[in-house]
Structure formats: C-alpha cells, structure tokens
Amino acid sequence: MPKLTIENLKVIYNNKKGQETIALDGFSYSFNEGSLHAIIGFSGCGKTTLLRAILGFVDYQGKILFDNVDAIDLTTQERNISYVSQQYILYPHLTIFDNIASPLKIAKAPKEEIKERVKAVAQYLGIEHCLTRKPRHLSGGQQQKVALARAIIKKSQLYLFDEPLSNFDKQGRSEVRLMIKKFIKENNVTALYVTHDFQEAMTIADNIVVINNGKVIASGSPKEIYESKNPIVNQLKCGVNDE
C-alpha cells in the first residue's frame, strides 16, 4: 500500500461572480500506509475537498504524493483509488450484482472471479439476498451498502470514505462501521474516512486528523485526540457543530 503524503495543498473555488473561497489552505500531512485515518472537522472545513483533490477531481496547488510519485503524473485510474461518498450513485437499470461487479467488469476480470468476489463481498455486508434486485427495491441503508461493496470489491491502493454511514440508522451505523474497520485491518490497506461525528472517528480510526479552515490543527491516535486541549477538538468532542 502506498504512503500518501500531502504537502502544502491549497484548493480555491471560484463562484460565478468570481469570488474566491479557500477550501484547503496549506494542508500538509503524511498518511501512513495500512491504517485507517479519520478526517474530522466542522462542515465546510475542507474534508470532502481533500478527498476530491486526492481523486483528481479538483484543481489544486501543492503536492499530493503516492509513494513519492506526484499525483499530477498519474491518471485517476493509475491512482487506483476506491471512493464512497454520502451521495452515492448506483446504476438504476442494473441489478445489484451488476452494480457491485461494475469495477471488475471495467477492469476485465474473469467471469468466475467476478462472481466469487461479488458473492463474497455481498455476504460480508449482508446483502447477498439482494443481488438479483434493482437499486429501487432496496432501502437507503442497503443501497449505501451496495455502494460500499462496489468500492471495496476492487483491490485498490487507497480507500476514501466520505461520510459513508449517513444513510444508516444507529444500529446499522455501528454494524457497518465495524465491517469497514475489519476490512481495512484484514486487507492491510490505507483508508481516509471523512466524518463530522467525533464518536464515529474515535471508534473506527487508527489515527485522527482534525481540520479547521482548510488546515490540520491536530492529529494523533484516538486517545491523543480525546485528551487534546485544542478548543476546536473540544467543540467537536462536545458535539458542537457550526452547521
């Protein structure tokens, strides 16, 4: 798994009137391989923008390095990243099987391998009975599981999760959270997990990165973050949100 290093990352959005919004302002961090990193912060702090920059979806200044190779030199495919967003999109005309299998079909994996892996990942997420259905037959939580299954079926270098549990109820959240954690550990992959839920970050992550105004303001193990005296961290801890 690659080491992901971000150096002085700056992302500026321009609106139609030409006004600038700085989403990330000199973000620097080195994400260790084989760990689950939770990215936490208030809404609008740049969490999702960070993931979009890593994916190559937005223009940026600064450097994103995969094992010291600049992301600029890599296409989105070469970055080999799996991404699950809170606004997941499933192909409505395809069955759940075909939705989950789509990354492997694009990668032209053999038929038998696709079948095996789809069954295994569906079983892992408890949606194996849904494989013949279309997305519209499934609840929001189940659809989110399908999006998750589609992301983890592909053997990627890096997994990006952008609030992937937003469609689940409390019980579903803790169940899927454990599944994600187990998957990351078992496969020894690197994952960035964006959330604004402090408790969620504490339970899932090996390492927590706290962002505010597009910059890293604190990082460390869940225990270190929990014990941090940083006022922003304390606000997040208390569930105070600026939304």
Partner: protein
C-alpha cells in the same frame, strides 16, 4: 441523479418463493435481458425463416400458376412435393444452427432463473461451448425425424390421420424426451443416451404436465394456418423475438422443477430449489 429508495429493507423473505414467482419476477426485473435473448434466437432462426420464406413463396407461385391454368393439377402436385422435400431437407441444417443459439440462450436463461449474475455474451458462448455436441445430435435427430414426418404427409393415400400420425408421434413422444435431454444438458454432465433414458422415464412420470408444456412449445404449428404470406413472416419474426424467450424461461423453470423433484432432491441437494427462496 437520485436513486429511488424503498421505505424498508429488502428481506430474504421478499424473494420469489416458487418457480411461478421466479418467472414473473424475471420478466419484471430483466425484460431487457429477455429481449436480448429474443434477438439472439431470431438471429439463429434466420436460416430457418429464410427457408420457410422461399418455400412459401414458391408454393404461392405454383398455386398462382395453377389458378391461371398455366400448369396442370398433376404438375402442381409434383412441384408441391418437390418444393416441400427440398425445403424440409434444408430445414435439417437450419435446425442445427438454431440449436446452437438455443444452447447459448438456455445457458443465459439458466443463470437468470437461478439468480446468478448474468454475463450475457460470455454466458451465451459458454452455453454453446459446453453443450454444442449434444444439441447438434438432438437437432439432427429432430431434423431428420421432422423431415420423415413431413414426407409421410406427402404420401398419396386418402387417410389423413395415417399421414399425420408419424409427425404426431414425433412431436408427442420423441420431442418431449429430447426436451428433457436438452434441459438436462444445461444442468448436468451426462452422456446423451443417459439424458434420453432419463428423459423417457421423467416423461412417463410427468406425462400430463409435460404434455401441457409441450403444447406451448408446439405453438409454431399454428403458423401454418396463417394464409397471408407477409403476415405469417411478420408473426414468426415477432414470435422469435418476443415469445420464444418467455417460453424458454417458462420451460426451463418447469423442467427444473421436475429435475428438483426426481433428481436433485436426493442426488444433487446443492442445486435443489436453486433460484427460489423457500426450497420446495
């Protein structure tokens, strides 16, 4: 783009619990795939349709000549027989070509009925690869029997029943046994004589229900009663695209339920009730 969501989780118990439900469920969910199967069936039945097209064209032409008085009744009879002989003989290789498409289509239908992932082209080709030898023999056998049955109709005797009897026997005795063989080929790896032997036994055991299933398969016989040439061709084309895949799906589910009852329950429990939620 927003995906529609169900209010509640989709549960195991919501899956079809019998083969009839699988049939309607498949139609509702996979009509696009079924349409693709129909197009493939049309493609592989094209030689057969072309032969029937020319046969009917020639027959219309000699009928017209007869009505105009340009040929005698005797010449008409001779020409009619000759056209039929040639057409039904050419039908034999056409049945073989059709059987290749059938081998592929039935594999796709098997995947669909069993709730497995469908890879249309790959499954279609796999079905041909795995079964072409058996289907070749079945189609040759059927083609030759069909030819002989048709030739019997052309014999100059007055007893119509005697003339059509061989064809009736072929369609009601040999065809269902072969059908059992054709569907077995998609599921098991038996020798052809074993498939036919099993087919004969299962046909006797399930005579009435299989006979009903057979009537559905014999629908194309009714096309002979359509007098308008182009309407007949159009009906046949539409039949292959829009009706044949549904018949194949229904027949696969029927034969699979027979296999479940008489073979799978004891011998292959892993495929017993495959594709349905509540095992039979």
């Amino acid at each position: 783009m927003k995906t529609k969501k169900a209010k509640n989780d989709f549960l195991q118990s919501d899956l079809p619990s019998n083969r009839k439900e699988v049939f309607f469920d498949s139609i509702k969910l996979r009509y696009g795939l079924i349409f693709k199967i129909g197009l493939m069936m049309l493609l592989f039945s094209l030689p057969l349709l072309v032969v029937l097209f020319f046969k009917d064209s020639y027959l219309i032409s000699i009928e017209s000549s007869l009505s105009k008085g340009s040929i005698s009744q005797e010449s008409y009879n001779e020409m009619y027989k000759m056209i039929c002989r040639i057409a039904y003989a050419v039908c034999v290789p056409c049945f073989v070509i059709f059987s290749i498409g059938l081998a592929g289509s039935l594999r796709v239908i098997r995947q669909l009925a069993w709730g497995e992932g469908v890879f249309f082209i790959q499954d279609f080709l796999d079905g041909i690869k795995a079964n072409y030898k058996h289907y070749l023999i079945y189609s040759l056998l059927f083609g030759v029997m069909h030819y002989l049955g048709r030739m019997a109709i052309l014999i100059d005797i007055d007893l119509t029943f005697i003339k059509v009897l061989p064809l009736i026997i072929i369609l009601s005795v040999f065809l269902p046994v072969m059908l059992f063989g054709i569907f077995q080929s998609q599921i098991y790896t038996n020798k052809i004589w074993q498939e036919l032997k099993n087919g004969a036994i299962l046909y006797i055991k399930t005579f009435f229900t299989t006979f009903l299933a057979l009537i559905i398969i014999c629908i194309p016989i009714a096309f002979a009663f359509i007098n308008l040439f182009f309407i007949k061709m159009l009906v046949m084309i539409l039949y292959f695209v829009f009706v044949v895949p549904f018949i194949l799906l229904g027949e696969f589910l029927y034969f699979n339920s027979v296999f479940d009852k008489y073979i799978n329950k004891n011998n292959y429990p892993d495929i017993y009730g495959k594709g349905i939620n509540n095992k039979i």
